[in-house]
C-alpha cells in the first residue's frame, strides 16, 4: 500500500512540475521583448502590421493568451506554429523526433560502450600509463565542443577523403537505412558520452574497490579478475544505471550543432530556430513535451529504485 501512495505522490509532483514549467515558459516567452511577428513586420507599413497582429491574436492581453494556451494544453492542443502556418508541435515531433532519436541512440550506444570499456580499463590499470591516457583523453573530449568535432570530421572524411557524404540523412527506412549518412554525425556526437561514462565508471569502480567487502572477497582468495567481474562491476553499475535513462531521455531532443553542420532534419535545430524566431506555440509545445518525457523517465527511475532498493522508499522518497 505504501508503495502505491509513494507512486501517486510522485505522480502528483510530476504533474505540478509540468504545470509550473509550462507557466514559466509562457511568461518567460511573453516577457522577452518582441514576438513571433516582430521580425516579419519589421519592414512592413504600420497598417499591415496592425492587421497581422489581429490575425494571430497577438494583440490580446497577456492573461487572456495565457488562459487560452493553458486550456489548449489540457486538451493536448498546443496550437499552430506562427512561423510555419498549419504545422503543429505534434506534426513536427512526428517528422523530426525519429531523426533526432536515431542519431541520439546511435551516439549513445557507441559512446557509452566505448566509454565504459575505457572506464573499466582505467580503473583496473589504476595508476598506469593506460589510466593517465584515459583521463587525458576524456578531459580533452569533454572540453572540445562537438561543433568542432563535427566540422573537423566533415572536412577530413567527407571533404578531403570523400569517404562519406558531406551532408544529408536517410529519407527512407529511417531507422536502419542510409548508414553512410549517419557515420560522421554519430562519431561527432559520441565523444561526450565516451568522456562522461569513462570518468563515471572509473570513479564509481574506485569507490567500490575501497569498500571493505572487496577486501573480504580478496581475502577469501578470489582472483582479481573474479573480484572485478562479480563484485566491483555489479556494484559500480548503480550510478551508471541512474545516468542511463537521463541520457536516453535527452536523446530525442537532438543536437543543435551537429544537426546544423550535417543538415539533419532533427528536433534540436528546429527547436533552437523556433526559440530564435519566438514561435511561441512551438516552443511551448516542445518544452512541455520534452519536459514531460524527461520527468516521466525520472518518475520511472524513481519507481524502479524503490523496487530495487527499498531503503529509498523508507527514507521518504528521496533519491
Amino acid at each position: 500500500m505504501s508503495f502505491l501512495r509513494y507512486a501517486l505522490k510522485k505522480l502528483a509532483v510530476m504533474l505540478l512540475t509540468l504545470y509550473l514549467i509550462a507557466t514559466a515558459t509562457f511568461f518567460l516567452l511573453a516577457a522577452t521583448p518582441g514576438d513571433a511577428l516582430s521580425a516579419r513586420v519589421e519592414r512592413l507599413p504600420e497598417t499591415v502590421t496592425q492587421r497581422l497582429y489581429e490575425k494571430y491574436g497577438l494583440n490580446k492581453p497577456i492573461m487572456e493568451r495565457y488562459i487560452t494556451t493553458m486550456k489548449g494544453l489540457l486538451h493536448g492542443d498546443f496550437g499552430e506554429s506562427i512561423i510555419y502556418q498549419g504545422e503543429t508541435v505534434q506534426s513536427i515531433i512526428r517528422q523530426k523526433g525519429p531523426v533526432s532519436a536515431r542519431l541520439g541512440l546511435q551516439q549513445m550506444l557507441l559512446g557509452v560502450t566505448i566509454g565504459l570499456l575505457l572506464g573499466l580499463l582505467a580503473a583496473v590499470k589504476k595508476g598506469s600509463l593506460w589510466d593517465y591516457l584515459v583521463v587525458v583523453f576524456s578531459i580533452l573530449l569533454i572540453s572540445v565542443p562537438n561543433l568542432v568535432f563535427a566540422l573537423l570530421l566533415q572536412q577530413v572524411f567527407a571533404g578531403q577523403l570523400r569517404l562519406f557524404p558531406v551532408i544529408g540523412w536517410p529519407k527512407e527506412n529511417i531507422w536502419l537505412g542510409g548508414w553512410e549518412y549517419t557515420v560522421l554525425p554519430t562519431l561527432a556526437g559520441c565523444f561526450g558520452y565516451i568522456a562522461s561514462y569513462a570518468r563515471l565508471l572509473k570513479a564509481s569502480m574506485l569507490d567500490v574497490m575501497n569498500q571493505e567487502y572487496i577486501l573480504t572477497a580478496e581475502s577469501k582468495g578470489l582472483t582479481h579478475r573474479e573480484v572485478i567481474l562479480h563484485h566491483v562491476l555489479r556494484n559500480a553499475f548503480i550510478p551508471i544505471v541512474t545516468y542511463l535513462p537521463m541520457s536516453l531521455a535527452m536523446c530525442i531532443t537532438g543536437s543543435f550543432f551537429i544537426e546544423s553542420v550535417f543538415s539533419i532534419p532533427g528536433l534540436g535545430l528546429y527547436y533552437v530556430n523556433a526559440v530564435a524566431a519566438q514561435d511561441v506555440t512551438i516552443v511551448m509545445g516542445e518544452t512541455v513535451i520534452i519536459s514531460a518525457i524527461y520527468i516521466f523517465v525520472i518518475f520511472i527511475t524513481d519507481i524502479l529504485y524503490s523496487i530495487v532498493d527499498p531503503r529509498i522508499r523508507i527514507k521518504g522518497g528521496k533519491r
Partner: protein, 567 residues
C-alpha cells in the same frame, strides 16, 4: 497599335534575342550530362502561397514552381531581362492608365487545367483583401479602388480589375505609374487557383504550407519537402515551355553553416552558390583560375545606410541634434567610404555616395550612369567638417564645442565585424569632427527594435533591398509619412515630396529620371540619410553549369533553363 505598345514590343523583341543568346549554344547532344539533376542550397520557406510571399527564399522557390505574366532572366552583362511568360502580349492605353493582358493559351496548371484570366483576377483581388493582410498588398495600391478596399472604405467590386474573357483581363490605375509593369511581374501577382484554396479551407487543409494541396504552373513542381531541411522539385510536364527545361530534378537542401556550404561546393556536391562568407573569395580564386568554378560578382539592389533620428514626434535623438541638416551632413561626410569598403568588405563592395544603387533603371537609362553621385560633390565642397558641424550647433543653439557632444548609436547581436565597424565610426567622428560616439549594444533584434521605436538613438546602420527595378523603390522610402518612415529616420521635406510625387505620375522617362536625380540630390544635401556602401553579390557555379541566370530582382537564381555539361 499605339506608340507606347510599339515601343514595348521593340523592347520585348530585343529581350527575346538576348535570352536566345543566353541559351547554351546548340551542340551535339552528347556534350550534355545524361543526368540533369541540380543540387542547391536554400532556406526553407515559411509558406508556399504566392500572394503571401515575404522573403527571398520564397521568391526563389515560388518563381521556379509558379509563373506570372513575365519571367525575368539576366543578360550576359548581368542586367535583368523580363520576357513574356504567362502573358502572350499586353497593351497600355494612351493615357497610361489601363493595362490589358492577353494570356498564353497553352499555359496549364500541373493538374492539366488551363490557366485563365480568372486565376489572375482572383489573385490580384486576394492580394489586397483586407482580411488577409499580405505583406506585398501595397504593390497593388496603384490600381484604382485598391487602396480604399484594403483600408476597408471601398468595396471589392469597385477595384478596377476587369475580367474580359477567359484569356484577357485588364487593370486600370488611378494615376499613371511607370513602374507598374515591374511590380506585377513579381510573385504576389502570380495567378492562383481559388477553387483549390476554397476547397482546402473547407476541408481544414493547410493551404499556406501543404504542398500536396497545391498545383503548379511553373517549370517545376514540388515533389517532396522536409520541414527546415530539404525540398525536391521535379520538372513540370504540363509546363508550356517544357522543351526548354532540361533539368529533371532539383534537390534543395538547408545548409546553415557556411563552411559546410563551402565543403559541398569544393566537392562538387553543389552546383551553384551565392557566397555568404566573403572570406572564401580569396580562397576560391585558385578554383576560378583552374576552371573548376565559374565566378562573377554583381551589384545587389541594396544600400547600407545610416538613418538619423529626425522623426517629427521625437526630439532629434538623445543628443537632440539630429533635426539639423548641417549636423547630419557633417556626420555623413565624416565617414571615409573607400576605407570602410577595404576594411570591412574586403574591397568587394562599392562605396556609396548616393542612395540609389548601380543598376537601377528609368526606362532604358541607368540612373547612376546619368548623374554623378551627389555626396562626391558635397565632399569636395565641405572640406572642413568640424566647421560645418559647429555651424549646425550654432543653429540649434547648442553651447559648447563638438567635444561636448556625445551621439548614441544602437546595434544588436554584435559580431566582431559590427563591433569593429562601430569602433571605426567612433574613430572617424572623433578625428574629423571631434565628437564622441556611444555604442549601445542590444542582445537581440527584439530589444533593439524596442529601443529604436522609443527613439533611443541618434543614428543607426541599416540595409535595404529594393523590391523592383526602378529608383522609386528606394526614393519612396524618404517621402513624408510613408509606411517605412519609421525605419528610415523620418525624413520630411516638402520639396523632396513634390519632386517624387511629380516623378511617380510622369510618363516621360527623361523627365522622370531628372526628377529622381534632383530629389536624390536634395536628400543627400540635407543629410536625409548617409549611404555607406552598395553590396556586391559573389556568385560561384561549377564549370559544367550553363544557362544560369541571376536576376537582380525576384529570384536569386533563375535556374529553369539551366543545362549541365558532361563532367
Amino acid at each position: 497599335m499605339n506608340a507606347v505598345s510599339r515601343k514595348l514590343l521593340s523592347v520585348l523583341i530585343a529581350c527575346m534575342l538576348l535570352t536566345v543568346s543566353l541559351m547554351p549554344l546548340a551542340g551535339a547532344e552528347e556534350e550534355y550530362a545524361e543526368e540533369q539533376v541540380l543540387n542547391l542550397t536554400y532556406q526553407d520557406l515559411n509558406l508556399i502561397d504566392v500572394n503571401d510571399v515575404r522573403n527571398s527564399n520564397e521568391f526563389q522557390v515560388l518563381t521556379e514552381v509558379q509563373e506570372g505574366l513575365f519571367r525575368t532572366f539576366s543578360s550576359e552583362d548581368h542586367t535583368d531581362v523580363a520576357v513574356l511568360a504567362g502573358a502572350e502580349s499586353y497593351e497600355v492605353s494612351e493615357d497610361g492608365l489601363t493595362y490589358t493582358f492577353h494570356l498564353r493559351p497553352e499555359c496549364k496548371w500541373s493538374d492539366g487545367v488551363p490557366v485563365t484570366a480568372q486565376n489572375y483576377v482572383d489573385s490580384w483581388l486576394r492580394l489586397i483583401d483586407p482580411e488577409e493582410a499580405f505583406a506585398y498588398a501595397e504593390l497593388a495600391f496603384g490600381i484604382a479602388g485598391a487602396e480604399s478596399y484594403y483600408e476597408g472604405e471601398g468595396a471589392r467590386e469597385d477595384v478596377a480589375i476587369a475580367l474580359i474573357d477567359d484569356l484577357t483581363f485588364s487593370a486600370t490605375l488611378a494615376e499613371p505609374d511607370a513602374a507598374f509593369l515591374k511590380k506585377i511581374g513579381m510573385v504576389p501577382f502570380y495567378p492562383i487557383r481559388k477553387d483549390l484554396i476554397d476547397a482546402a479551407k473547407e476541408n481544414g487543409g493547410n493551404w499556406t504550407n501543404d504542398y500536396q494541396l497545391h498545383v503548379f504552373n511553373g517549370p517545376f513542381v514540388i515533389a517532396d519537402r522536409v520541414l527546415e531541411n530539404s525540398m525536391t522539385l521535379v520538372k513540370n510536364e504540363e509546363y508550356w515551355d517544357k522543351d526548354n527545361v532540361y533539368i529533371t530534378q532539383v534537390n534543395l537542401r538547408v545548409v546553415p553553416e557556411s563552411s559546410t556550404q563551402a565543403q559541398l561546393m569544393e566537392s562538387q556536391q553543389l552546383d551553384f552558390l551565392k557566397l555568404e562568407d566573403i572570406e572564401y573569395v580569396d580562397q576560391w580564386q585558385r578554383y576560378v583560375d583552374n576552371g573548376t568554378f565559374q565566378y562573377f560578382s554583381q551589384t545587389a539592389p541594396s544600400v547600407t545606410y545610416i538613418a538619423f533620428d529626425m522623426h517629427d514626434d521625437a526630439n532629434g535623438g538623445p543628443s537632440g541634434l539630429m533635426k539639423n541638416e548641417k549636423i547630419r551632413l557633417a556626420i555623413s561626410l565624416a565617414f571615409d567610404r573607400e576605407e570602410y569598403n577595404l576594411l570591412f568588405q574586403n574591397g568587394l563592395s562599392t562605396p556609396a555616395y548616393s542612395l540609389v544603387p548601380y543598376g537601377m533603371v528609368v526606362g532604358d537609362k541607368e540612373m547612376r550612369a546619368a548623374c554623378d553621385e551627389p555626396l562626391l560633390g558635397l565632399q569636395a565642397q565641405y572640406t572642413d567638417l568640424r566647421a560645418l558641424f559647429e555651424e549646425g550647433l550654432k543653429e540649434v543653439g547648442f553651447e559648447g564645442t563638438p567635444e561636448d557632444v556625445t551621439l548614441t548609436t544602437i546595434i544588436y547581436s554584435p559580431t566582431t565585424l559590427t563591433t569593429n565597424i562601430n569602433e571605426w565610426y567612433k574613430q572617424q567622428l572623433k578625428d574629423k569632427i571631434g565628437l564622441n560616439l556611444n555604442v549601445e549594444v542590444y542582445p537581440d533584434t527584439s530589444t533593439w527594435v524596442s529601443a529604436r521605436n522609443a527613439y533611443q538613438y541618434d543614428f543607426y546602420t541599416m540595409g535595404w533591398f529594393g523590391d523592383f527595378n526602378d529608383p522609386i523603390t528606394f526614393l519612396n522610402l524618404f517621402t513624408t509619412g510613408n509606411g517605412y518612415a519609421r525605419f528610415m529616420g523620418g525624413f520630411s521635406d516638402s520639396e523632396y515630396d513634390a519632386l517624387i510625387a511629380k516623378a511617380s505620375s510622369s510618363q516621360d522617362d527623361a523627365e522622370r529620371l531628372q526628377l529622381y536625380i534632383d530629389a536624390e540630390k536634395i536628400l543627400m544635401e540635407r543629410g536625409g540619410t548617409a549611404p555607406i556602401y552598395f553590396a556586391q553579390n559573389q556568385y560561384y557555379s561549377q564549370s559544367y553549369v550553363t544557362g544560369l541566370s541571376c536576376p537582380t530582382f525576384g529570384a536569386e537564381f533563375e535556374f529553369s533553363r539551366v543545362r549541365l555539361l558532361k563532367h
